[in-house]
């Protein structure tokens, strides 16, 4: 791919994210340097930003083509979204993406918000079953997204025993997190016919 500013080979592929807008830049080394310096000096001018007031400017991450190609293929084990898809849409696929792509998202998020640690409110958790305390984070519940996918796959392969096992796993997690349910409507049906 050619640099969008000149005829040289584009080696930097930059994704800009501005309040939901996604823009891609493909630049040679020289133009990438000029571009990145511009955005940095623009930030440097801003006293508010230096004092931690957050960023108004675009969010920028630069990688070499090889790094980016590799990173683009990385996929979330829960929802299956690749980093490439996220870069294109500017929207993540599921809550687990914040864990799976944490290393890649960290600079993006720090750039948008001028911070990388939540200091606001914490959620009220539904009362868990007696004795068990639900954690603050919802990582465990989010694994249900991946489990549902493997259950569907097991059913597709007619591996009903496996499907039943996964289903029980899902139920165990949901019972902990949604004790008063009217079971989550997304949970599996009563189960495949026993052979």
């Amino acid at each position: 791919m050619k640099c969008q500013e000149c005829d040289k080979q584009a080696v930097f592929h930059i994704t800009e994210l501005e309040t939901g807008e996604v823009r891609e830049l493909h630049l040679c080394e020289d133009h990438a340097r000029t571009y990145l310096n511009q955005s940095e000096s623009a930030e440097g001018d801003d006293a508010e930003k230096a004092s931690g007031g957050g960023l108004t400017g675009p969010l920028t991450v630069g990688q070499t083509a090889d790094e980016l190609a590799l990173l683009d293929k990385k996929a979330c084990p829960m929802c299956g979204i690749t980093f490439f898809e996220f870069r294109n849409q500017g929207r993540l696929g599921c809550p687990h993406d914040y864990v799976h792509f944490e290393k890649e998202l960290e600079p993006l998020i720090a750039n948008i918000h001028g911070a990388a640690q939540h200091t606001g409110r914490k959620p009220q958790r539904p009362q868990a079953e007696e004795g068990s305390q639900l954690p603050e984070g919802t990582e465990e519940l989010t694994t249900v997204i991946g489990l549902r996918r493997s259950m569907q796959e097991a059913i597709a392969c007619e591996d009903y025993e496996q499907a039943r096992e996964v289903r029980d796993g899902i139920r165990g997690i949901e019972d902990r997190w949604l004790p008063d349910a009217a079971r989550d409507p997304g949970s599996p049906p009563a189960g495949p016919p026993t052979s």
């Binding site: 939901g20 993540l92 998020i109 001028g114 990388a116 919802t138």
Partner: protein
């Protein structure tokens, strides 16, 4: 809920009451939330979409706040009804134009609205007339707590509330005020004001939010960042700048009266004249003229019009409202004629006659 009954009411944000309501139209807080056990909206299957809609609808309606809300199945609404809700700021344009299972729960006062399957699974909004960010924040916090005790919101100790777009992660809060700044526009100071707002991480948008142009000198100011500060700090960040903007606008209005009284009086009188006599008029021109008349009334240059009436005309002359009030669907040309007729009838109705 019958949408047609809403058309007769003005809705919270145009009531024209509350502190500083000569300049601050409304104060709004919204929270972005997702259910932990489902993919985000853009990655959901149709099945997921329906499941999330049902899950949230059931949990909202069984909460005590939910009992005071009416649920509207947005996916089944006609286009004109969706547009109508957008004009009232009860749903976003994106939500109106999306596909598949989605809905909104709103209260009778039109202060609270809960959008299901917008960009995030749940968008809670609370809107108050005039400058009342604190009141809006306290109300929404209560709603969020109630729903959050029945819905496992996706949350991470480091990243906070997890949202589909990283620009909302953390608190998921967007705090905004809608300001009417005609004098800053006329005195050409508005760009300078906006540049300084950008420097302190505040965003400026036109009346109908993202991407739309400011119509009729109405601007929405909101926080740009959502992570690393508490909700209260972000409410303050926006709240702190509002008195400054109010002061600028008041000074610009005083300047106009002092230095260019004849000119301004002429401008607002002409605007008033067109609204009273036009035979066909677009929504944009109507907004622009109503904005000028609104300023004229506040400056004491037009004596026989009420601010509440101007506010009500601002919404009732919008395309979907106009058609709802008329009871028929109209194309653009006929809408412009009907709009002019509606305005003439309103102003003929007497000095401060009701637009009904």
């Amino acid at each position: 809920m019958k949408l047609d009954t809403l058309a007769d009411a003005v809705g919270e944000w145009l009531r024209g009451t509350g502190p500083e309501s000569d300049i601050v139209m409304s104060s709004r807080v919204r929270l972005a939330r997702n259910v932990a056990q489902y993919p985000f909206v853009s990655r959901m299957s149709d099945q997921d979409r329906g499941d999330v809609e049902r899950f949230l609808r059931e949990r909202i309606s069984s909460s005590s706040v939910g009992k005071q809300l009416d649920y509207i199945d947005v996916g089944r609404l006609e286009e004109i009804d969706r547009q109508f809700l957008v004009e009232r700021q009860l749903i976003s344009r994106e939500h109106a134009e999306a596909q598949g299972a989605r809905g909104v729960a709103i209260d009778g006062l039109e202060q609270v609205s809960l959008m299901i399957n917008e960009e995030d699974h749940l968008r809670i909004q609370c809107m108050h007339s005039g400058l009342d960010l604190r009141g809006a924040w306290e109300q929404i916090r209560g709603v969020d707590d109630q729903i959050g005790s029945a819905v496992p919101y996706a949350y991470h100790p480091r990243w906070g509330y997890l949202t589909a777009c990283p620009t909302n992660v953390g608190t998921g809060i967007r705090v905004s005020v809608m300001l009417h700044l005609p004098a800053l526009v006329i005195t050409r100071q508005i760009d300078k004001v906006f540049r300084s707002l950008h420097k302190i991480s505040l965003a400026v948008r036109g009346l109908y939010g993202e991407g739309s142009q400011a119509m009729g000198d109405f601007y929405q100011i909101s926080n740009q960042t959502t992570l690393g500060k508490s909700e209260e700090e972000l409410v303050e960040q926006v709240g702190d700048v509002v008195p400054v903007l109010i002061d600028y606008e008041r000074r610009a209005r005083e300047f106009l009266v002092r230095e260019t009284q004849q000119n301004v009086h002429d401008q607002v009188s002409r605007a008033y004249g067109i609204l009273r006599t036009a035979q066909t008029i677009t929504a944009e021109e109507t907004m622009q003229l109503l904005s000028r008349v609104r300023m004229g009334v506040l400056l004491g240059l037009i004596g026989d019009v009420k601010i509440a009436d101007i506010n009500s005309l601002l919404i009732r002359t919008q395309p979907a409202h106009l058609q709802k009030l008329r009871g028929v669907e109209l194309d653009t040309k006929d809408r412009n004629i009907e709009r002019a007729r509606y305005l003439r009838r309103h102003f003929e109705g007497g000095p401060s006659g009701s637009p009904n």
